[in-house]
């Protein structure tokens, strides 16, 4: 992990989308007056004819994208996660998922790491809402390299995809040579004291916690669950069998998110206690992203403390 170089996944998305647009003429991009924030402005500048600014009207935007996909286009549709999965939920459900249309929903500004804008703009329920929809594939990428892979990879899926992206700049975790596979999580280390399941912004945090715990002689492994749906059941069962404790960490409500998805697998395939770190059924609040991660107990110190408290029990 290169801690010195940080980049937000929204930025990686914008840059990868531009590259994808050069390779594939069927790619069209939509935004709802947030192109400078979601970084679709990079694509818009290069391919103005294939970029559709739909104004502050997200419900229509997703419907238009659905219609366009029936004509062979591959729409990448961006806005903040709270508007994509929240405001336009019914459009995503009925106009995109039900007819299994080829629309890629690339939602930025997910989680409390949005920061100062506060609760109304910090989407903490999107994984929950999106993964419950039939036909939907759900991804939440953890760094620049993985996001670039995901942006290209999802074009190959013939159906709806929700890609969860973040505003906060986070460390680059992977080398350029890293191979990714949809639905296959990535394991770091073979520690048996615990597994830290993470997704998106919490992966680099978990990796830091792993190093901190190592200094105290505690060996944990980290699993980057970049694909939330279909979830990698095998790795969950394997870790349940190989490690003493299972802990999930997410910048999302613990209800319905990564922890819940893992718990569903554990309950049916490998019953074992799961400790869920995340936003404990609350709305977010204003503050700096790092402060909020500490406040809501999803930074590396919180993970380490949680682990040690569990030892004393």
């Amino acid at each position: 992990m290169k801690l010195d170089k940080k980049i937000a996944t929204r930025q990686s998305y914008g840059e990868a989308l531009l590259e994808l647009g050069k390779d594939n003429n069927e790619i069209v991009v939509f935004d709802a007056d947030l192109a400078t924030a979601t970084k679709t402005n990079l694509f818009a500048k290069e391919f103005p004819k294939r970029f559709f600014e739909m104004g502050i009207a997200e419900q229509n935007m997703f419907g238009v994208a659905a219609g366009m996909s029936t004509c062979g286009k591959i729409p990448y549709v961006s806005t903040f996660a709270v508007f994509a999965a929240g405001r336009a939920y019914d459009q995503v459900r009925n106009s995109i998922c039900y007819p299994k249309l080829n629309v890629k929903i690339c939602a930025t500004h997910a989680g409390v790491t949005v920061g100062e804008d506060g609760a109304t703009h910090q989407m903490l329920e999107d994984i929950s809402l999106m993964r419950t929809l039939p036909n939907m594939t759900v991804l939440c990428t953890s760094d620049d390299i993985q996001t670039r892979w995901a942006v290209k990879e999802i074009a190959n899926i013939n159906g709806p995809v929700y890609l969860r992206l973040c505003r906060l700049a986070t460390p680059i975790i992977y080398d350029e040579t890293q191979k990714f596979e949809l639905g296959k999580a990535i394991q770091f280390g073979n520690g048996t004291d615990a597994t830290l399941f993470a997704t998106g912004v919490t992966v680099s945090v978990a990796l830091k916690a792993k190093e901190m715990l190592k200094e105290e002689g505690i060996n944990v492994r980290v699993v980057d669950m970049h694909t939330i749906k279909p979830i990698d059941e095998d790795i969950i069962v394997k870790c349940a069998n190989e490690t003493d404790r299972l802990i999930s960490v997410e910048d999302h409500n613990v209800i319905g998110g990564l922890g819940s998805a893992i718990a569903e697998v554990l309950a049916t395939k490998a019953p074992k206690k799961l400790e869920r770190l995340g936003i404990q059924d609350k709305f977010g609040k204003s503050g700096k992203a790092e402060e909020l991660m500490h406040y809501f107990g999803i930074d590396c110190n919180a993970i380490c403390e949680h682990y040690k408290q569990g030892m004393q029990l």
């Binding site: 559709f52 739909m54 104004g55 419900q59 229509n60 419907g63 659905a66 004509c71 009925n94």
Partner: protein, 280 residues
């Protein structure tokens, strides 16, 4: 237009109405009122206006149709079956567990359906997307979408209208089925829409208000819509909910219920003997 062609379209409209009534009766559920009010428009679309091929339902250059008021799908199924997209017998499976004809349009199950709809306000957005795609690829196809007047209470409709204006979608023809009734009462009682035509006009549409049961007017409006360049078009069709079935006409309660045995016989009789002519 020759008299014989209009008679042919009129005859198809009558058959569409009969099949609507039969479907809803067989299913013991469905939406006869709003299906009957669009029967004449559907007949013109499927037997005169649209450039479609029932043998190649996914033809790239075909005209598209989106039934934004998806609950009135019985009218669409009737038109598709009569046109030959699937067999007339399939209509007996409307809303049944062992058939493909869902209670609302499902593009993945039925040939000829260009968009799955049902949640009101969404179909027009999909139609806008199809029209933009046509412009992008320099295609000549046209996109038609029928909305209910109650449906345009959905905010999304006006979001879609703004985008149709922005992209100057002269290949898009929006039809508002203005029968003045919705589930909880008249449009006026429920919320009130004031002047529908002026609303669309102010959103940048070329508008035409017509009698939605007068075939010559419907055909002429589609022609004018086609001749309009540089802006989207909207046809406000003044219609009668339940049109063609005496006891359903202008009755709110026939929005979403099926006729019993007696009512069924009477309804078929009404359509058969009077058809749409009665009110001309």
């Amino acid at each position: 237009m020759e008299i014989t062609k209009i008679q042919e379209i009129e005859e198809k409209a009558k058959q569409i109405r009969i099949e609507i009534v039969k479907q809803v009766y067989n299913a013991r559920s469905g939406h006869p009122g709003g299906s009957l009010s669009i029967a004449d428009i559907m007949s013109v679309l499927y037997f005169n206006e649209m450039n479609i091929d029932e043998k190649n339902p996914n033809l790239e250059d075909r005209d598209r149709f989106v039934l934004s008021k998806g609950h009135c799908v019985a009218a669409l199924y009737s038109a598709l079956a009569l046109r030959g997209y699937f067999s007339m017998e399939d209509l007996s499976k409307f809303r049944k567990i062992d058939g493909n004809l869902q209670g609302h349009p499902d593009m993945t199950k039925v040939p000829g359906i260009d968009m799955s709809t049902g949640s009101l306000g969404q179909g027009i957005s999909a139609a806008v997307g199809m029209a933009i795609a046509g412009k992008l690829d320099n295609k000549n196809y046209r996109v038609y979408t029928i909305l209910g007047d109650g449906e345009i209470e959905e905010g999304q409709v006006w979001e879609a209208a703004m985008s149709a204006n922005k992209y100057k979608l002269d290949n898009l023809c929006v039809i508002v089925d203005n029968n003045n009734l919705q589930i909880d009462g008249t449009i006026e009682e429920v919320i009130g829409l004031n002047k529908i035509e002026e609303k669309f006009k102010s959103f940048g549409f070329e508008t035409f208000t017509i009698d939605g049961h007068n075939f010559e007017e419907i055909i002429r409006a589609f022609g004018k819509a086609k001749d309009t360049k540089g802006k989207p078009t909207c046809i406000i069709a003044k219609t009668v909910k339940g049109k063609g079935v005496s006891f359903m006409e202008n009755k709110v309660e026939w929005h979403g219920k099926a006729p019993n045995d007696e009512e069924f016989k009477q309804a078929i009789n009404d359509v058969f003997w009077d058809g749409a002519k009665k009110h001309h």
